[in-house]
Symmetry: C2
Subunit: 223 residues, 2 copies
């Protein structure tokens, strides 16, 4: 392999294919067992290649992990980035919640990888959280404050509001095992998702207090 000073390293077809296979296998292992609990042997086995061959592409265990985390954070923050200050507050929030819920449904392994990392004290991404996540949250908190000042949403602690959106939606990926035990096998995962979306919409918009107690509207409309 000639060293090309200026030119960016080109990746071969095989390289791209294998890196993809490896990262997929690594995601499976890391998300299920955490960094320490995952082993290169199992990742290699799961990727269908020998350990030395895997290490040819990622020289250390940590390299795979970091590649996964880097890729993860990009897509992970996308829904929050899309929260639009100029949009209608309630629909904006609703669609943010729905997007987060979709991510929990479509990328549960990524969610668990992230959960594992934070659970263990985020030793490998604390800096990234400070440099990427924090500023983004600060920015969106301002947006929320604006909406609250205008009376377009109830005045609450904006950061805790964001926490509650994250936790309720990611719960369906991170605690999936428990969710399945409790909901039983009756309702398929598609139905589960719709039930969750409907419930969260009610919770975040109106809470649990019956409308009758808030407004003076009668519970039954008489035509």
């Amino acid at each position: 392999m000639k060293a090309r000073a200026t030119e960016t390293q080109r990746k071969t077809r095989i390289q791209m294919e294998n890196e993809e296979r490896i990262l997929d296998a690594a995601l499976e292992e890391f998300s299920a067992h955490g960094f320490r609990g995952a082993t290169i042997d199992r990742i290699a086995e799961h990727a269908g290649m020998s350990k030395p061959n895997l290490l040819y592409y990622f020289r250390r265990k940590q390299d795979m992990y970091e590649a996964l985390i880097a890729r993860l954070l990009k897509t992970w923050l996308e829904p929050l980035r899309e929260l639009d200050a100029t949009g209608d507050p309630l629909p904006e929030l609703q669609s943010y919640i729905r997007r987060k819920l979709e991510m929990a449904r479509d990328f549960p392994r990524e969610s668990r990888l992230f959960a594992n990392e934070i659970l263990q004290g985020a030793p490998r991404i604390k800096r990234l959280l400070e440099s990427e996540l924090k500023p983004l949250v600060d920015e969106k908190v301002e947006v929320l404050h604006g909406w609250m000042k205008d009376g377009q949403i109830n005045p609450v602690d904006a950061r805790h509001l964001i926490f509650s959106i994250w936790s309720t939606t990611q719960h369906y990926a991170d605690f999936d095992t428990q969710v399945q035990v409790i909901l039983g096998p009756d309702r398929g995962s598609e139905g589960r998702f719709e039930d969750a979306a409907r419930y969260l919409e009610t919770l975040f918009l109106d809470g649990l207090r019956p409308q009758a107690e808030k407004a003076e509207t009668p519970r039954v409309r008489v035509p």
Copy 2:
């Protein structure tokens, strides 16, 4: 040690002390690294004793883990057990949420241990969840349904309601690292807790939609 057939095994002073020290150290390690990621060496070091000595009290790694889980589940479900069908619905829910939040504050390691186990597919406690957790949830779901039928709380999916209480409260233990990054060091952990409690109360009772949109009350009161 004489084998006493009928009599239950008495524990010596040293035994009780050491088992306590070991379980505390084990909780620290397991909650931070998961079952696979934790090592007996580190637990022993953290407990201030030699590895063979530790293994004298718990012959296998898994024995420590199971002892912790068993102890955990007992206290973990207590708040839900206390949810009282004969009480006032909204205050009952409020105090359930507060108790869960207090547990996240006072027993974060236990919360993380549980999260780790579920995250990894609950291989060791799935059965316990089915035999202990599920029936309890089913029972309390009935209580919630009763309240909904009476119009005392908004009609929502009761199981998802429970999920949202679990996830929002446990978030403060499980994702503590992330919470701290975002809230910054300004507010101490005591203040954080009060902010969270206040926020969750508003969320679960009233949601985000401004009262003015629900009732016909004017947004600005003219004296």
